[in-house]
C-alpha cells in the first residue's frame, strides 16, 4: 500500500487510499467523513473508477494484479468498451478474496506467534530477575562468610599469640620453679648443715657440761633377758654377727627356694597331668583321622614320630621331676607345647569338619527336601526299634548274669563295658553257637572216648603185631632191605607218644586252623609229617573238621586223643568267651568252628 502511486493517479484516489490506509488520517482530513459515513452516495470525486477512466482503472488493476502475482487473471473490458467481463472480474475478485483470507490467516498466526513470544519473553525476563536476585543474595552471603572467615582468622591469630605468650609464661614459670627449687634445695642443705653444726655444738656442750641430771637411777641392775653376760665388742663378735646375719639370710633364701620348689613340682605335676590328658584325648582319634584324611598322611607320620619322641620325652621328664634339670624342663615344656599345637590343629580340623558336615547337611536338605512327615515317621520307627532293642538287651543282660553267676563281679564290669546293642547281638549269636558247639563237642567226646578205648585195644593189638613183626624181622634180618622200616615205626610211636603233650601246648592257637600261628607252631613237626604224612594229615583234618573226624578218624586211632584234647580246649575257650565276649580272636575262632557245621 505504501508503494508509489502511479503518476496518473488523481488526488482523489490518493485521498481514498489514504483513507483506507490509516484511520488516523480520518481526523486529519476532516472533509472526508461525509463520504465515509455515507458510502452509498458515491461521489464522483471520491470514486475510484468512473466511466471515464474505466480503461485506466482496468489497466491499473491488471498491473496491480500482475504485481500481486496473479498474472493469468485480468479484467478485461467488453468489446464495446463498456462494462466489464463478468467472469474474469469475478475470478479476480475470488482470487483477491482468497489472497485476503490467506493473508488474514497469516496475520492471525503471526499475532499468535507474537503473543507467544511476548509471553516467553516475559517469562524469561522474570527468570532473569529472579536469577539476578539470587545472585545478589549469594553475593551477599559470600561476603558475609568472607567476613566471618576473616574474623576467625583474626581470632586464630590472637589465640596463637596468646598460646605463644602462655608457652613463654610456662617456660618462664618452669625456669622460675627450677631455679627456686635449686635455690630451695641449696638453702635447705645449708640450713641442714647449720642444723647439724648446731646439733654438734649442742652435743659438745652437753658433753662438756657433764649434765648432772643426765642420769640413770636403778635400784639394782637386772640380768640380761637371755641370762648371759654382756660381751665385749671384739672382732670375734663382729664375725659372729656377720655369720648370724648371713645364716638368717641363707635360711630365708632356703625357705623361699623350698617353697618355690614345691610350687614348681606342683606345676610340673599339673603339666604332666595335662600332657597325659592331651595324649589320651588325641591318641584314640588318630587312626580314624588317618583313615579319614589320607592327604595329611605325611603330617600324620610326622605326628607319629613326634609322639614317639614325646613318649621318650615323657619318660625322661618323669625322671626329671626328681632331678629337675634344665634340659628336661625344656623338653617337658616343648612337648607340652607340641601337644598343645596338635590339640589345636585337631580342634581346628574338627571344627572345619563339623562346619563342612553342617554345610553338606544343609545342602542335602536343600537338595532333597524330604517331607518332614516321612522323616518323623522314620524317626518314630527308629525310636520304637531302639526301645525294642533296649528291652532285648536288658533281657539278655539278665540272662547273661544268671548264666555267669559264679563270676558275677567280672561279668558285671564287663557288661558295663559292652553295653552297646551290637555287642549284645553278637554275644547272643555267639552264645547260641557255643551252645551248639558244646553239644557237638559233647557228642564228639563221647564218640572220641569210645574211639579211644577202641584205639587202646587196637594199639595193643598193633603193639603185639609189631612185636611179632619185629621179632620176625629180627629173626630174618637182612642188612639193607627195609632198613627204614623199623626206624619209621619207632618214630611214629615216638611221635604218637610225644604228640599228645605237644598238641596240648598248641591247643589254644590250634583251633584257629589256617592261621599263620598254627603253621608256625607246626613247622617243627614238618619232618615228622614228611616221614609219616598220613598221621599228620589226619591230625590236620581232625582239627580242621572235628565233625568229620568221626568218619575219617575211625581208621586211625592214634589221632583221636589229640582231637579230644582239641575239643577240651574248645570247651575252655567257650568258658572264656562267656567272660569276654568282645574278644575278637575268640570270636573268629568261634566262627571257624561254626562254619563247617
Amino acid at each position: 500500500m505504501t508503494m508509489p502511486e502511479p503518476a496518473y493517479e488523481t488526488k482523489e484516489i490518493c485521498s481514498v487510499t489514504r483513507l483506507l490506509m490509516s484511520p488516523s488520517r480520518q481526523n486529519s482530513v476532516p472533509a472526508l467523513p461525509s463520504a465515509l459515513l455515507l458510502p452509498k452516495n458515491y461521489s464522483v470525486l471520491s470514486a475510484f473508477c468512473t466511466e471515464q477512466n474505466v480503461n485506466q482503472c482496468t489497466s491499473y488493476i491488471n498491473q496491480e494484479m500482475g504485481s500481486l502475482g496473479l498474472c493469468g487473471l485480468s479484467v478485461e473490458l467488453c468489446d464495446g468498451g463498456e462494462g466489464l467481463e463478468a467472469v474474469s472480474a469475478l475470478n479476480l475478485m475470488y482470487e483477491l478474496l482468497q489472497v485476503n483470507r490467506r493473508s488474514q490467516r497469516a496475520l492471525e498466526e503471526m499475532e499468535n506467534l507474537h503473543l507467544r513470544s511476548t509471553s516467553d519473553l516475559e517469562h524469561l525476563q522474570h527468570g532473569h530477575t529472579r536469577l539476578k536476585d539470587q545472585l545478589e543474595y549469594i553475593r551477599r552471603e559470600n561476603s558475609g562468610l568472607h567476613e566471618g572467615e576473616r574474623q576467625l582468622q583474626l581470632k586464630i591469630k590472637t589465640l596463637q599469640s596468646c598460646l605463644k605468650s602462655e608457652k613463654e609464661e610456662v617456660q618462664k614459670l618452669q625456669s622460675i620453679i627450677s631455679s627456686r627449687a635449686t635455690q630451695y634445695n641449696h638453702d635447705a642443705k645449708r640450713k641442714e648443715r647449720e642444723c647439724t653444726k648446731l646439733k654438734e655444738r649442742l652435743n659438745q656442750l652437753l658433753v662438756d657440761k657433764r649434765d648432772k641430771k643426765l642420769v640413770i637411777e636403778v635400784s639394782n641392775t637386772i640380768g640380761r633377758s637371755d641370762g648371759k653376760r654382756g660381751l665385749w665388742k671384739t672382732g670375734k663378735a663382729e664375725a659372729r654377727h656377720e655369720g648370724e646375719m648371713y645364716t638368717a639370710l641363707l635360711t630365708d633364701y632356703e625357705a623361699r627356694q623350698r617353697s618355690l620348689m614345691v610350687e614348681n613340682a606342683e606345676l610340673k605335676k599339673v603339666l604332666q597331668q595335662m600332657k597325659k590328658d592331651m595324649m589320651s584325648i588325641l591318641s584314640p582319634k588318630k587312626p580314624v583321622a588317618k583313615g579319614a584324611v589320607p592327604e595329611d598322611s605325611l603330617e600324620q607320620v610326622d605326628a607319629d614320630a613326634e609322639e614317639e619322641e614325646e613318649e621318650e620325652v615323657c619318660e625322661s621328664s618323669r625322671e626329671s621331676l626328681e632331678q629337675s634339670c634344665e634340659q628336661a624342663r625344656e623338653q617337658l615344656t616343648n612337648s607340652i607345647r607340641l601337644q598343645w599345637r596338635r590339640l589345636k590343629n585337631h580342634m581346628e580340623r574338627l571344627d572345619s569338619q563339623a562346619s563342612l558336615a553342617a554345610s553338606q547337611e544343609r545342602e542335602r536338605d536343600g537338595e532333597e527336601l524330604i517331607s518332614r512327615r516321612v522323616h518323623e515317621e522314620e524317626l518314630q520307627r527308629l525310636r520304637l526299634e531302639l526301645q525294642q532293642c533296649r528291652d532285648f538287651v536288658q533281657a539278655q543282660q539278665q540272662l547273661l548274669q544268671q548264666l555267669s553267676s559264679p563270676c558275677d563281679e567280672e561279668t558285671a564290669a564287663l557288661l558295663n563295658d559292652c553295653y552297646t546293642l551290637e555287642e549284645k547281638e553278637r554275644l547272643k549269636e555267639e552264645w547260641r553257637l557255643f551252645e551248639e558247639q558244646k553239644r557237638n563237642f559233647e557228642k564228639e567226646r563221647k564218640s572220641f572216648t569210645d574211639a579211644a578205648i577202641r584205639l587202646g585195644h587196637e594199639r595193643k593189638a598193633f603193639e603185639d603185631d609189631r612185636a611179632t613183626w619185629m621179632k620176625n624181622q629180627f629173626l630174618n634180618m637182612t642188612p639193607f632191605v627195609d632198613r627204614k622200616r623199623p626206624a619209621k615205626s619207632a618214630s611214629t610211636s615216638a611221635s604218637s607218644l610225644g604228640a599228645e603233650p605237644e598238641a596240648k601246648v598248641i591247643s589254644t592257637p590250634a583251633p584257629l586252623t589256617k592261621s599263620h600261628s598254627y603253621t608256625a607252631f607246626n613247622t617243627p613237626k614238618a619232618p615228622i609229617s614228611s616221614r609219616t604224612p598220613s598221621t599228620a594229615d589226619l591230625y590236620r583234618t581232625l582239627r580242621l573238621l572235628p565233625d568229620n573226624s568221626c568218619t575219617r578218624g575211625s581208621g586211625k586211632r592214634g589221632s583221636r586223643l589229640d582231637s579230644s584234647s582239641v575239643h577240651s580246649s574248645g570247651e575252655h575257650s567257650t568258658a572264656k568267651s562267656r567272660q569276654r565276649p568282645p574278644d575278637s580272636s575268640l570270636r573268629s575262632h568261634a566262627k571257624d568252628f561254626h562254619s563247617p557245621t
Binding site: 648443715r193 640380761r224 654382756g230 665388742k233 656377720e242
Partner: protein
C-alpha cells in the same frame, strides 16, 4: 558378747602385756596393773608426773612410763614392786622413748633428734647414736628383735644403719637413693627392709639385710606419692597406699606390682558386698525417755544401727580435699593385713566413712563397710580373719567373711570408742574411749 565395766584411763594409755596376762592402764600419774581375766588390781605404781607414754617390755616383766615434758622415764618391775628405775634425760629433752626388743635397754630419742640414747638396765651403761633422722618412721626393729634399722641424715644424704640389738653393734651402714627418706620397715621375716621416700616422690626401695639394694619401685612421678605402707605377715606382699587413692601390691620374688586396688567413688564390682550402716533413732516416746537419756546430750548415742547390704552400684560419700593445704585429706592413710594374710583392710582419707576389705587370694574387693560416721580405727583380730572398727560413737563394728555386725556398747553414760586394742589371744577386745576403757569378750565364733 560380754562387756566389762568401765575403767578410767588417761591419754588412751592402756596396754596388754605381750604374754596376755596383764592389763596396764595409766590414770594421771598412776600406773595400774590388772589381771586381764579377773580385772583385779595387782599392782599400783605412782609416777612423778602425768604419764604420756607407756610400754610393756617384751618379756612382760617391766613397764616403761615416759613423761616427755620433764624428760623423765620411769621403769617398774612387775615381779619386784619395790624395784625401781628412773632415767633423766636432763636439759637435752625427750621426744620419744621405747624398749629395745630384749627388754633390757631403753632407747630415748632426744629433742631435735639430736641423738638416740641407749640406756642399759643391766649395767647402767649409756651409749649414743648420733644423727637420727626426724621422719615418719625412722626406726624399726625386726620382728624377731635381732636387728634395728635406723634412718640417719648426714651431709644432706640419707643413710641407714642396721644394728644388732644384742650388743648394739653396727652391722651395716649404707646410703640410700632417696631424696628425703620418710620411713623404714622390716619385713616380718626380718630379711628385707622396705624404705620409702618422702611424699613428694613415689619411691620404694627394698634392701636386703646385708645392705644390698634388691629392688626399686616407682608407680608414677610428679604428684604426691606414698602415704602408708604395710607388709603382709607372711612377708609375701608389700602393700603401698598412696595419694592417688590406690593400693599397689608388690610380690616378694620379683618385687613387681601384682595388682592395683582402686578406691572408686562408685562401686560396681559385682563380687564385692557393700554393707551400709543404717541408723535408727529409738522411738521411745514413753516414759522411758527419761532425764538421764536426755542428759546424754547427743541423740547419736542412743540410736541403734544395723547393716544393710546395698544393691550395686553404690555411690560412696566422698569429701572434697583441700588441695591448697599441706597433707591433703586424700589417699590411703592406713592399711593392714589380717593375721592369716588373706585380707587387706584399707581406708581412703577422702572417703572417711568407709573401710575397704580386699581378698588377697582372689585379688579383688571383698567388702566395703560404709559407716554412718567417720572411721577412727580398724584393727584385725590377731588370730582370726575378723576386723573390728570404731567410729567414735558407742558402737563396735565387726566384720568377718561371714558378715558384718554392729554392737552397741552397754555402758552407762557417754562412751565414745576412739581406739581399739585386741588381746593377743583374739578372745577379747579393749575399747578405749576418751578417758575410759571397757573390755569386750568374744564368746563364740557365731557372734562375730
Amino acid at each position: 558378747m560380754n562387756f566389762s565395766e568401765v575403767f578410767k584411763q588417761t591419754n588412751q594409755l592402756c596396754r596388754v602385756s605381750p604374754d596376755g596376762k596383764y592389763l596396764a592402764t595409766c590414770v594421771q600419774y598412776r600406773l595400774v596393773i590388772r589381771d586381764v581375766n579377773t580385772l583385779q588390781i595387782l599392782q599400783l605404781y605412782t609416777c612423778l608426773d602425768q604419764v604420756v607414754h607407756m610400754e610393756w617390755s617384751s618379756d612382760s616383766l617391766f613397764i616403761l612410763c615416759a613423761m616427755y615434758k620433764r624428760g623423765l622415764v620411769q621403769v617398774w618391775s612387775l615381779e619386784q614392786p619395790d624395784w625401781h628405775c628412773k632415767i633423766d634425760e636432763g636439759s637435752i629433752g625427750l621426744l620419744s622413748s621405747r624398749w629395745s626388743p630384749d627388754g633390757r635397754h631403753i632407747l630415748n630419742t632426744t629433742e631435735f633428734h639430736l641423738r638416740v640414747t641407749v640406756w642399759s638396765l643391766c649395767n647402767k651403761s649409756v651409749s649414743y647414736i648420733k644423727y637420727p633422722k626426724a621422719c615418719q618412721k625412722g626406726m624399726d626393729f625386726s620382728t624377731d628383735g635381732r636387728y634395728m634399722a635406723l634412718a640417719e641424715r648426714r651431709d644432706c644424704k640419707d643413710y641407714i644403719s642396721v644394728f644388732v640389738c644384742n650388743d648394739w653393734h653396727l652391722l651395716r651402714h649404707f646410703e640410700t637413693e632417696t631424696q628425703d627418706l620418710a620411713g623404714v620397715e622390716w619385713s616380718p621375716n626380718g630379711c628385707v627392709l622396705a624404705v620409702w621416700d618422702t611424699c613428694l616422690e613415689y619411691k620404694v626401695l627394698l634392701y636386703s639385710l646385708d645392705g644390698r639394694l634388691l629392688s626399686t619401685y616407682s608407680a608414677y612421678e610428679w604428684s604426691l606419692g606414698i602415704k602408708s605402707i604395710a607388709w603382709s605377715p607372711s612377708s609375701q606382699f608389700l602393700a603401698i597406699g598412696s595419694y592417688d587413692e590406690k593400693v599397689r601390691i608388690l610380690n616378694h620374688i620379683t618385687w613387681k606390682k601384682i595388682v592395683e586396688f582402686e578406691h572408686p567413688a562408685t562401686i560396681n564390682n559385682t563380687k564385692a558386698v557393700v554393707y551400709r550402716e543404717v541408723e535408727k533413732r529409738l522411738t521411745i516416746a514413753s516414759d522411758d525417755l527419761s532425764l538421764q537419756q536426755l542428759s546424754m546430750g547427743s541423740s547419736v548415742f542412743n540410736s541403734q544401727s544395723k547393716y544393710e547390704i546395698c544393691q550395686l552400684p553404690v555411690q560412696v560419700p566422698t569429701v572434697q580435699p583441700d588441695t591448697d593445704r599441706a597433707n591433703p585429706k586424700v589417699g590411703i592413710s592406713s592399711l593392714s593385713f589380717s593375721a592369716d594374710n588373706r585380707y587387706l583392710a584399707t581406708k581412703n582419707d577422702n572417703m572417711p566413712t568407709c573401710v575397704w576389705v580386699w581378698d588377697m587370694q582372689r585379688v579383688g574387693l571383698q567388702a566395703v563397710l560404709e559407716q554412718a560416721s567417720v572411721v577412727r580405727c580398724f584393727v584385725w583380730d590377731p588370730r582370726r580373719p575378723r576386723l573390728a572398727v570404731c567410729t567414735a560413737n558407742s558402737k563396735l563394728y565387726l566384720w568377718s567373711p561371714a558378715g558384718c555386725v554392729s554392737v552397741r556398747v552397754p555402758v552407762e553414760g557417754c562412751f565414745q570408742v576412739l581406739s581399739l586394742l585386741w588381746h593377743c589371744s583374739g578372745d577379747s577386745l579393749i575399747l578405749i574411749g576418751k578417758d575410759q576403757l571397757c573390755l569386750c569378750y568374744m564368746e563364740t565364733e557365731q557372734e562375730s
